[in-house]
């Protein structure tokens, strides 16, 4: 008797899920991962000591500077709203071809260079390609975020998050309007409403609205300590619109 085709498929899918993986390989991957995490922790500790010394020296200079030219410094600093607008200008005007070029160069280098162990991979991290890429993030976004938040944003692809979509689909994105809304009861929290336009190579233009959330650090005033998408804020739909641009042309052109 023939088996029900859908049952047969389900059985095959189940079998495909069970990929064989040797315990040895699994353990080696864990050891390599552990080594990288420990290296990162050590790297984080050394700058902490240096930072303390710098902070001690700098504190004296800063206090002197604040006292002597308080009004001048206030003029140089950005308000929270201006910081948000600066981040959104970066994030929602694109694509950014420079980050794409740097990512390509770094990933090409990884593809071309065989690394047999953690030490060799660590050497690769010292390459010009990797340094250039990692320096680009602080250059573009560094002044707006706390250091910890910037590290998290890089590792979770939360900045330049639409760049691949834009490049792959040959679509340009422009920031049209921003309405910065501050939480009344929590003044460090802002949830801007962001209107962007998308334009394809034929000049067709469509619009989309997204909401995001910025929480300013209490320990580092003026810097964003948390940058989040808002649930049902339209970010996912923006990616879908870029990927399926032609289907949306005419909708709100």
């Amino acid at each position: 008797m023939q088996m029900d085709p859908s049952k047969k498929f389900d059985k095959l899918f189940k079998e495909m899920k069970d990929v064989d993986r040797s315990e040895n390989a699994k353990r080696n991957t864990w050891l390599a991962l552990k080594g990288r995490m420990e290296t990162k922790r050590r790297r984080n500790l050394i700058p902490a000591f240096i930072s303390l010394a710098i902070v001690a020296i700098a504190s004296f200079l800063i206090i002197t500077y604040i006292n002597s030219s308080e009004s001048e410094q206030a003029a140089q600093g950005l308000s929270n709203e201006e910081v948000i607008r600066a981040v959104l200008e970066r994030e929602y005007n694109g694509p950014d071809m420079e980050i794409s070029r740097l990512q390509d160069e770094w990933l090409d280098l990884q593809s071309e260079t065989e690394t047999k162990n953690q030490e060799e991979y660590d050497q690769l991290l010292e390459s010009k390609e990797h340094k250039d890429l990692m320096n680009y993030y602080p250059t573009t976004f560094g002044e707006y975020f706390t250091e910890n938040m910037l590290t998290n944003l890089i590792s979770t692809n939360m900045i330049f998050k639409y760049n691949h979509y834009l490049i792959d689909n040959k679509v340009e994105m422009h920031l049209e309007n921003v309405k910065v809304v501050q939480e009344k009861e929590h003044p460090n929290i802002y949830r801007p409403i962001i209107e962007v336009s998308l334009t394809n190579s034929q000049g067709h233009k469509i619009f989309h609205t997204v909401r995001e959330e910025f929480i300013f650090s209490t320990s580092e005033p003026g810097k964003i300590g948390s940058y989040n998408g808002v649930k049902n804020g339209g970010g996912i739909e923006l990616g879908v619109k870029i990927e399926n641009f032609n289907s949306y042309v005419g909708e709100n052109e």
């Binding site: 899918f13 495909m16 899920k17 069970d18 699994k26 864990w30 552990k34």
Partner: protein
């Protein structure tokens, strides 16, 4: 969150997902390591919008996709002639018929459009829910449902066309 516990609990699932995309054991191990390293660095930003597994699979997808894109080989499931299908069932004891069916399934899958392959991989092979699949792929739930129906139709068609030809040989098994 303890990384060792996280790794032990989820690394097989992440590896299995990546393996289907890259089809190379060492590469899948490297990308699994990269996935967990990124997760380690980004743990503070995990905000329970998804389950930890779904979050890890999303990172795994980004890591793997970047790897494939940079190598210029975004050819999901594209089995090379010498590719070996590594599943537990494909042990020497497995029946010839079972191997043939699996080979047919792989061959059918790699002929599908990339988005069909991805939705089948997540929904059917990784057994993710519609909501989880939508989160990982960055799609709406409606799009997942629609793509899934079309993907399964396309797969059935390919699978039944695939059968019986002389080239349906069993791939090399390590």
């Amino acid at each position: 969150m303890d990384m060792e516990h996280l790794y032990k609990a989820h690394s097989d699932r992440v590896y299995s997902y990546i393996y289907f995309l890259v089809r190379h054991r060492e590469c899948a191990e490297d990308l699994t390591q990269e996935t967990f390293y990124k997760a380690y660095k980004g743990l503070d930003s995990f905000n329970n919008q998804a389950t930890i597994t779904t979050w890890l699979l999303k990172i795994a997808r980004n890591v793997t996709y970047d790897h494939l894109r940079r190598k210029g080989v975004v050819k999901f499931f594209t089995f090379e002639k010498e590719h070996d299908i590594e599943t537990k069932v494909l042990s020497p004891e497995s029946s010839y018929e079972k191997k043939e069916q699996l080979t047919k399934m792989y061959n059918s899958l790699y002929k599908l459009k990339k988005d069909y392959q991805e939705v089948i991989l997540l929904r059917k092979i990784q057994e993710c829910s519609i909501q989880e699949t939508a989160y990982i792929l960055g799609w709406t739930e409606a799009k997942v449902k629609m793509k899934m129906i079309r993907a399964m139709e396309a797969l059935k068609k390919e699978f039944h066309q695939e059968g019986g030809h002389a080239n349906g040989s069993i791939k090399k098994i390590r």
